[in-house]
């Protein structure tokens, strides 16, 4: 319960992107999204393991289904953010915003 459920920046990213994509999230999709958004290469195994950890903490739930992706193999494990997960994200955002408050003169406006 609470932000202490999310460990570290990476898990944060994964949970955020899972929330963004919605119920159709699966590992590969998250990998693509994170890479496009952060501009950095991301390890699929790291993402997968992070998702399973989040699942163990109750912040996401997963199900193995035949999806509608391309290719001969259509089975995917789809992940969906739970209410717990949403709450955790909300709380973490509060904390971040409170920590960031008033730091503009030091850090400057947003970076391109």
């Amino acid at each position: 319960m609470g932000t202490k459920g999310i460990q570290g920046e990476f898990e944060h990213h994964v949970l955020l992107v899972a929330a963004r994509i919605g119920p159709g999230s699966y590992t590969a999709a998250l990998v693509v999204e994170i890479e496009e958004r952060t501009g950095r290469e991301v390890s699929p195994s790291a993402v997968y393991v992070a998702l399973r950890r989040l699942e163990k903490k109750g912040l996401v739930r997963s199900s193995l289904r035949t999806g509608d992706g391309p290719g001969p193999l259509r089975e995917r494990r789809f992940f969906e953010v739970t209410e717990e997960g949403v709450r955790a994200l909300r709380e973490s955002r509060e904390r971040f915003l409170s920590l960031w408050e008033g730091l503009e003169p030091v850090v400057g406006e947003g970076t391109p």
Binding site: A29, G69, P70, L73
Partner: protein
Amino acid sequence: MSRPGGGDEPGRPTHPPRLLRVLLRILLPARERDHLQAEMAELYGRRSARHGRLRARLWYLRHAAGFGLRFAPRRLAALADGSAGATLRDARLAGRVLLRRPGYALTTLLTLGIGIGGATVVFAAANWALLRPVPGVSRPDGLLTLRLQQGESSPAFPVSQPDLETFEERLAPITDLVASTEYEVNLDPGAGGPPRRVAAALVTPDWFRVLGISPYRGRLLDPGSGGPEGEEDVAVVSHRLWRDITGGDEALGATLRINGHPYAVVGVAPPGFHGAELPGHTDLWLPPAALPHVEPGRPLESLEQRGSTLWRQLVARAAPGANPTVISAEGARVMEEVRQEYRRHSFHANYTLHAYPGVGLAPRARNTARRTLTVLGLGALLLLFLACANATNLSLAHASARRAAVSVHRALGAGRSRVARLVLMEHLILGLGGGALGVALTAWSLRTFSDASLSRFGASLQGIELDVRVLGFVAVVALGVALLTGLPPALAAGRGGILPGLRGQAHGSRSAARTRGGLVVVQVALATVLLVGAGLLARTVVNLGSVELGYEPGSALRFSIDPRSQGYGEEEVRTLLVRLEERLREEPGVRAAGFVSPAPITGSYVTDHALPPGGDDWEDMVRGAGYQVTSGALEALGVTLVEGRWLDASETPRPGGPPALVVISEAGARQVFPEIPAAATPGRLLRRLRGEPARIVGVVRDIRPRGPYEAPVPVFFRPWGDGPAWADIAAVVRTTGDPAALGGRVRAIVASVAPDLPVYGLRPMREQVDRIIVEQRLAARIAAVLAMAGVLLTGVGLAGVLGYAVTSRRREIAVRTALGARPAAVVGRFVGYGAGLAMAGLVVGLAAAAVLTRPLESTSLGPHAVLFGIEPLDATTYLAGGLVMLAVGAAAAWIPARRAARVAPMEVLAEP
């Protein structure tokens, strides 16, 4: 948000290559396999479209490995149950089977242990001798050993200081060049103990820095001060010498007297470091300023002379990636430049600079070690094959005994592959056990063989350790052996019907019996080869020992002293020797004593010349060995006087006086005066190199001054002082009893007459002679061990096969006996069978030995040939080998044959 994976790729979808897909499958846990594979394929497709196939594949490989690493703990846990669980069960089952047949298990274990141990000994020796690093040297892969040689196996030629500097300047690929050269010096540690003889090295000032050595205590020689001469009067000692002198106490700044000159100890080298070459003996390092002290009579100014040679061992640090061949070529170029520019240099035209990677075992020693190890390796390989053949045989016999259990398994549903796996598992356990035993045997035998006095090669094995590489070797060999010996029985186990086994019938197929017989033949052949080899080497040693040397090494003690380096003048030396000779002769137990220079047998070879009075040409000049002796020396050496008398040390010639006196050997007499018998030459005059006359006063029997390998050469003995003064002075003391017992008294006598002089090289003369043939003795010893092991294993194998034959044909024997066959006939059949196998193996073995020992004729072991006084195809040796094998065969057949004779027909036939 755009849906990934959809509509980005036009046309053809790209899939990861099959190999990579399979790899990923293996690495993924079962439940997640399918979807993760699919997702990785999808990501691969995207990447391939964006970045090309190669990058996509690399990406796939990287991240497949990532999955593998993340799931490894889980997979290993799963392995514990699942298929690996079956393997563990197999192992337990196999273990139980082996425990029920301890005889078979132990015999096989021992057999494999001996075979694997033999191979491991050679590998460990090779690993240690050829590959071990020099302790204390940092970043050894940037270092190169340079030598000025005519060829890779010839001795190194020294280089002068100016030439060294030129090399360093102009050899582009190297960044630093340092050099050392070795001396033996008298060391007086003052309060630290009695005077001793140590190996010292003169080194260029930045020698330690380039090798990357850090001091254990104090500091090392300072490269900064003093220019090319370095510092004055300072020395660095080895850790071993420091412990010896100070007992580990902080005694830096202690003064040592080196050849009588005081030096301050400024530092201690790290433990185990004795120079850049292995095996190292250096205990003292001195800067070049010490040159006049270590080489008396050589001025320090000679360092500046381009023609004055000094440095023998060169070490270079090279730019990374430097190639020794390139450096050798560069070296040749620079040498040619120096020849042209300076016209006076320290190297001859036919010497080139050879570069060898790394430091450590000297290049020539590397070659010797390699040759020795190759010969030994072949012997060990034969033994290994022998052991494997034995083990396979034992296993096949055992398999037949195992048949009942196997049949039960198969009746209960185990497939052929399961049965085969069980058999392989048994062999795996035996193989690994044999490997462990082999390691133990290796450790034990290496300790026995690495005695430095055993040989130069033995010296290079000192302190040998069994490191990771050796253990890896053992593991590989053990696994290989397990597979090799296990596959035939494993494949055979599944064969045949189930019922015969359940009924208790023995496995009596003819092909199995033929295989076992064939394996015995192979074993006998291999053992025969080992026997012949050992026989040839043993006879070599005997031949060497029986060569008439011309002097008597038995009951004589020898030692050396070096008063000249200590600063003694010629008159002082003479007085010293006369006094020592007197004191030694007075000693109870001493029959004769005297001094010889240079030292006989292993000392330098000084050439003396003689001409008959009429002869004038250089062509008529007789060349031989020359020695200066004191009065008692010839008698102490035990040379045999044929005619005439001994020399007296007081008979040194004076200028303007009567001719010098000389005692010559028969060979000398024959060559100088070919027309008259040698015994008639005393009284005659011969002429020396510059025409001076010398009168022969005595003739001695032929001498081989340097050991059994050389033919007798002319030897000329002159009275002490008649000739150049060499540093090499040896004393010979002939004793009535055991020479070794007089060692302490001898030291005491020298200490009382000359307390500043160390006594070194003190040993019985017999040992000195033995050292010449030390490589041959070691090789003969090892070959004998291998041969005995081989014969033992073969005997066991033969006995096993015959024993099994008896067991499996008990009914047949019973029937025959019941029908009236005499026991002798029954025994005869089995002995005949065994003899047949042995004969077949013998024939093959002798033929193989004839082929394999051929190269021994031209191979060398150490500095001399492997064989001496015997040809590879020596009839006696082969005959002896054959007889031994037949005897072994007969002995091996004896017990099973007697068992056959004692079969009680009624009991056996009454069995179900």
